[in-house]
C-alpha cells in the first residue's frame, strides 16, 4: 500500500488559495489548511466593532473555505513573531507599511515548520505569477522558496506550469499537466476555474486581506511609532488603530474619538488603560487619550471631545475626565469650533 501524500495549504480565505487547494485535493492528496493571524488581518474585526456593519456576515473566510473544501484548518497566532517581520523587513515595504515579501517568506517558513512537525510532504500556496507587485513576481517567487527553506517542497498549483518542476511534480505525487499556468492581475482564469469547481460564494477582498496595505491604517501606524520614538506595538495598539477618529494636536498626545456606539463599546474595554473622556452635560462620544498629555493638553482634548458631542454649539460643556487610577473629574470647556480642529491634526 502506497503512502498517503499530505500537503499543507496556506489558506487566506480568498479565492486563489481555495482553488490551489482544491486542485491538489482533486489529485488525491490529503490536504489540511493553515492560516496565520498576524493581528493585521482584515477578517471581520471592524465588522464586529462597528454597529453600522452589523448586517454584514461575520464569517471568517478561511474557516468558510476550509469547511467548503471539507478540510481541517489550523489557525496559528503569530502576533509576537510577526513584529520582527513588520519592524525590520529585509526586503522593505510595499506602497504602504506592507512588508509583503518578508511576510510571505515568514509564513512559508512557518508552514514548513508545521509540515515537518506533522509529517506532511509539501506546501501549497495560491500565488499567481504577476498578481501582486511585491511578493508574486517572477523574480521574487524564488526568493520565497529559498529564504523560507521550503525550496522545491513549495508548490504553487495555479502557476506551476510556468515555473520549474517542484519535488511533488518530479516525484509524481501530483501531475504537472493537471496544474495551471495563470499569470497577471486578471481574475478571469480563476473565476472560470471557480465556476468549474462549483464555487460561487467566495471572497475576493480588494487589496488583499491585510490592514498594512491600507494607506490610512499605515499612516496611523507610522504616527504611533513616531510619537513613541520607537518601532514597537502590541495587539491593543493594532486594534485601536482600526477604530475611531485619531486626532493628534501635538506630539505628546493623541485623542481617539469613537465614531459610533459600536466603537464606543469596544473602546470602553480600554478605559482602565487610557485616560478617557466623554461629555457629562450633553450626549457625546467616548474618547481615549494616548500619550503623555499635560493639563493644557487635557483641556484641549476635552474641547475636541465636546466638539463631537451634541453640545458642540453650546457655550460650555462639562466633560468627564477619568485618569488611569479611575479618578473622575469634570472639565468645563467651550467646544472647539469646526475650524479649530486643524486638518493636519487628523492622522
Amino acid at each position: 500500500m502506497s503512502k498517503q501524500i499530505k500537503a499543507v495549504s496556506l489558506i487566506s480565505g480568498g479565492l486563489d488559495s481555495m482553488l490551489a487547494t482544491k486542485a491538489i485535493m482533486e489529485q488525491g492528496v490529503h490536504v489540511e489548511g493553515i492560516n496565520f493571524f498576524t493581528g493585521f488581518c482584515v477578517e471581520g474585526h471592524t465588522h464586529a466593532i462597528r454597529k453600522k456593519d452589523k448586517e454584514k456576515p461575520k464569517r471568517n473566510n478561511s474557516l468558510w473555505v476550509a469547511e467548503t473544501l471539507g478540510i481541517k484548518l489550523h489557525i496559528i497566532d503569530i502576533i509576537e513573531e510577526y513584529k520582527d517581520v513588520l519592524i525590520n523587513p529585509k526586503h522593505g515595504y510595499g506602497a504602504n507599511m506592507n512588508p509583503c515579501l518578508d511576510c510571505k517568506v515568514f509564513m512559508v517558513k512557518k508552514a514548513k515548520q508545521w509540515m515537518e512537525e506533522n509529517d506532511f510532504d509539501f506546501i501549497i500556496t495560491g500565488e499567481v505569477m504577476g498578481q501582486r507587485p511585491m511578493s508574486q513576481r517572477r523574480d521574487t517567487m524564488p526568493i520565497i522558496s529559498a529564504e523560507s527553506g521550503a525550496d522545491d517542497r513549495l508548490l504553487r498549483p495555479l502557476c506551476a506550469q510556468g515555473l520549474p518542476a517542484t519535488l511533488p511534480e518530479r516525484e509524481g505525487w501530483v501531475k504537472r499537466e493537471e496544474l495551471f499556468n495563470f499569470s497577471g492581475r486578471g481574475r478571469k482564469p480563476q473565476m472560470a476555474l471557480a465556476n468549474e469547481y462549483g464555487f460561487t460564494d467566495y471572497s475576493q477582498p480588494a487589496g488583499g486581506c491585510c490592514f498594512l496595505t491600507d494607506e490610512s491604517y499605515s499612516k496611523k501606524l507610522v504616527d504611533l511609532w513616531q510619537a513613541r520614538g520607537k518601532k514597537e506595538y502590541d495587539l491593543d495598539d493594532v486594534m485601536l488603530l482600526k477604530v475611531g477618529r485619531h486626532i493628534r494636536p501635538n506630539p505628546d498626545f493623541k485623542v481617539i474619538v469613537a465614531r459610533e456606539d459600536g466603537e464606543a463599546r469596544f473602546m470602553g474595554g480600554y478605559k482602565k488603560s487610557f485616560i478617557n473622556m466623554n461629555s457629562a452635560s450633553h450626549k457625546g462620544p467616548l474618547a481615549l487619550i494616548d500619550g503623555n498629555p499635560s493639563a493644557e493638553d487635557l483641556y484641549l482634548a476635552a474641547q475636541i471631545v465636546a466638539r463631537y458631542g451634541q453640545g458642540r454649539d453650546a457655550d460650555q460643556v462639562d466633560v468627564f475626565v477619568r485618569d488611569l487610577a479611575g479618578n473622575e473629574s469634570i472639565l468645563q470647556v467651550k467646544p472647539l469650533p469646526k475650524e479649530g480642529i486643524l486638518d493636519e491634526w487628523f492622522v
Partner: protein, 75 residues
Amino acid sequence: MSRYELDARRLLCPLPVIRTQDKIKELVQGDVLTVTCTDPGVLQDIPAWSRINGHTVLETKSGEYEYIIVIEVGS
C-alpha cells in the same frame, strides 16, 4: 469526562477561535469546554471551526453583550 471553561471576552475573531483550538488540544475526547466571548462573530466561527475539526457544539447562548458556546471534544 471533565468540564472546562475558557474566558475569551474582549477578544475579536479569530482570537477566540485560536484560544478555543489551543485549549482543546489539551483536552481529551468527551471533555466539555464552555467558552465565553464578547465578539458576536464567534457564533459563526467557533461552530464552523468545531465542525471541520470533528467537535460538537452542544449549546450556544446569546446575551446582550456575551455569547456562550459549549463544545464537546471529538476524536
